[in-house]
């Protein structure tokens, strides 16, 4: 849109926030941080109105987008798309109606549909654990991996992870199965991995929720060959565990905090109120969390 990028100071800002519904720990965190941002920012800026909507699928999110534009008449949007490809057209339609668009986490397939892009680093989410494992185990280890739900997001992480490990011929990924970012499924898949593979060094659970199920399965099987379980996303319990050193299998994690939705809302709202523009792309780096730096990643009030 021609006007979409033009910045101007507004008297009032109607900001719409469209995010996935809380279906597992991570998205639960997203919802919590989004509401947190709403509460704080609306208090600080009386002329700011934030509407938070959660969707349980791409079509529903597209619908909400339409409703936010047509009926709530938002002028700015922060969207965490369910899926890049599927939401591109709908966001484009919104942008055509002069809505300022900040896309969070999953970039659209057509970048012209967005004014700003703020994201966690999915490649790093897969790369960091791989590099960590390769280094720690001197390029020699047996790994089993859990995957999330089949999505582009999951693919990115998986490719980054396997991509790094390809350079280490002695690191074997024994198998990777979907456990749907779900504790129960992770528990079952791990149980079966344990039955199947007698010698495992590391489990890449790829998500802290799933890591939780993995740990329980290992505990039940009383297996001693496994040296480490690596989750992902830096949930509060996992960070606390690292901080306390309370679980011998947990040593590190990779940060991918749902807090970025808070940052995105805050940055967008404040920029819009002042009439500023956001940088076109802003990647919130993912970093390795270890006992040393765990404190920086610990937010006791967040649900995640």
């Amino acid at each position: 849109g021609a006007l979409g990028g033009v910045a101007f100071a507004a008297d009032t800002v109607k900001l719409g926030v469209s995010i996935p519904a809380a279906t597992h720990g991570f998205t639960g965190g997203i919802v919590w941080w989004a509401n947190q941002a709403k509460a704080e920012l609306e208090k600080a800026h009386p002329n700011l109105k934030i509407t938070v909507k959660t969707a349980s699928g791409a079509p529903e999110q597209a619908n909400q987008l339409q409703d936010l534009v047509t009926v709530t008449k938002i002028d700015s949007l922060v969207i965490f798309p369910f899926e890049s490809a599927a939401l591109t057209q709908p966001v484009l339609q919104a942008k055509k109606k002069n809505v300022y668009v900040t896309v969070v986490d999953r970039g659209l397939t057509d970048p012209s549909a967005q004014d700003a892009y703020i994201a966690g680093d999915n490649t790093a989410f897969g790369r960091i654990p791989a590099e960590y494992i390769a280094k720690k185990y001197n390029g020699k280890a047996n790994i089993v991996a859990l995957r999330g739900i089949p999505t582009t997001l999951d693919n990115e992480r998986w490719e980054a992870f396997t991509g790094v490990l390809k350079q280490h011929p002695d690191i074997k990924i024994l198998d990777g199965k979907y456990a749907n970012w779900n504790r129960d499924d992770a528990f079952k898949v791990t149980q079966d991995f344990l039955t199947r593979f007698k010698d495992i060094d590391v489990v890449w659970a790829a998500d802290d929720d799933m890591a939780f199920g993995v740990l329980k399965a290992i505990e039940q099987a009383k297996r001693t060959d496994i040296k480490e379980v690596f989750g992902g996303a830096g949930s509060k319990t996992m960070v606390k565990t690292i901080l306390d050193g309370s679980n011998p299998l947990i040593h590190a994690d990779v940060s991918y905090s749902p807090k970025f939705i808070y940052d995105a809302i805050k940055m967008t709202a404040e920029a819009r109120l002042k009439g500023d523009k956001l940088p076109a792309t802003y990647i919130i780096p993912s970093s390795l969390i270890t006992k040393e730096n765990a404190k920086e990643f610990y937010f006791p009030d967040s649900p995640y």
Binding site: T51, G57, P59, N63, D67, T70, E83, Q89, P150, T151
Partner: protein
């Protein structure tokens, strides 16, 4: 007053000779028929009260447009349910059709010149694929004598798995040129009314005519009401059942044809839980889950009603986002209560 159980049928008060009259009258005011309408009207009132922008033309068109997919599938589903069957696979089927169709169109884009022709071929393919899947269901159910629930539960998994495999776990995305050529099918309008709404309308009318004014529709109802009786009346039960599933498949194809230009991609989460929504629309619309009787108009209203609920929820923030599904659940139960069946 020793009145019998509340569940007893409505008494007719006229003498025997005139029994026809009061029975007819009681049918006219059958809450069973008007429950969904009443529910919808109430919702519209609530929506307008909560947010004046709700009642705008644009919003109405938005709601109707997005209802089109589920609505069209529900119409096919209505036939299947009336005939005493069920189809759990429609969501996965839509996803697979969308994926297959996009792959085909992307592949053709190189060889066939005009994007419009490619899109037209893609659409045709979608309808054929849908019909084929539907007939396959029908075949397994009638010839294989397997419960429809099981057959379609199985294909629910199969369709989605094949799509996931085709998409390598990610998404299948339509080429940009094609997207532009195809866009109007979802985003265009005719006389101020979006194309999908026209299609939805056309399918509804066709469905209503088919159900109420053709022998096929009559047979569908007869089979759902009493399969043995239909067989005795020399109705080719297997063939009619086969066709209802085929019809539903075509409806899913049509819905997919409208859906693809909207999101321009298919992924393993496409069409997730559409089956529940479609079945819910049919049942909320007053069709009996046990088959035998049902209404297309009710189904359409049911589908619209379900969209309106989430539209209203989108338009207000009085309720915690966590509780959206609870509100939806309550409204569905309340609407069903309005049209509860006489025993």
């Amino acid at each position: 007053m020793p009145s019998g159980p509340k569940s007893a049928p409505t008494p007719t008060t006229e003498a025997r000779g005139d029994r026809a009259a009061p029975r007819k009258a009681s049918r006219r005011f059958d809450p069973h028929r008007f429950g969904p309408v009443v529910g919808l009207v109430l919702l519209l009132v609530v929506g307008t009260a909560l947010n004046p922008d709700f009642a705008t033309w644009d919003n109405m068109m938005n709601v109707l447009t997005r209802t089109a997919f589920i609505g069209i599938i529900s119409i096919g589903m209505c036939f299947v349910i009336i005939s005493g069957g069920i189809d759990l696979s429609v969501g996965s089927m839509a996803a697979l059709i969308a994926g297959g169709m996009i792959l085909l169109m992307n592949a053709l884009a190189g060889s066939v010149g005009s994007p419009v022709a490619v899109v037209a071929l893609g659409m045709l393919f979608a309808l054929l694929l849908g019909g084929g899947f539907g007939l396959a269901h029908g075949y397994l159910i009638t010839r294989g004598r397997i419960e429809p629930f099981i057959v379609t539960l199985g294909t629910l998994g199969i369709f989605r798995a094949v799509l996931t495999w085709l998409a390598d776990g990610g998404a299948i995305t339509l080429d940009n040129d094609l997207s532009d050529a195809y866009g109007p099918v979802y985003y265009g309008s005719l006389l101020g009314i979006p194309v999908p709404v026209w299609v939805f309308l056309a399918v509804s009318v066709a469905g209503a005519v088919l159900l109420n004014r053709t022998a096929f529709g009559r047979y569908v109802q007869a089979i759902g009401s009493n399969e043995q009786v239909a067989r005795f009346a020399a109705v080719d039960v297997d063939r009619v059942k086969l066709l209802t599933y085929g019809l539903l498949g075509v409806c899913v194809g049509i819905a997919t044809v409208l859906y693809v230009p909207r999101l321009g991609s298919a992924s393993p989460t496409t069409g997730l839980l559409w089956e529940l929504e479609a079945i819910a629309a049919v049942i909320v619309g007053g069709t009996s889950f046990k088959g035998g009787e049902g209404r297309i108009a009710g189904t359409v209203i049911g589908a619209v009603l379900l969209s309106v609920i989430s539209n209203i929820l989108n338009l207000t923030s009085i309720i915690s986002v966590y509780l959206n599904a609870a509100v939806q659940g309550c409204v569905i139960i309340a609407v069903a209560f309005l049209q509860r069946r006489r025993p």
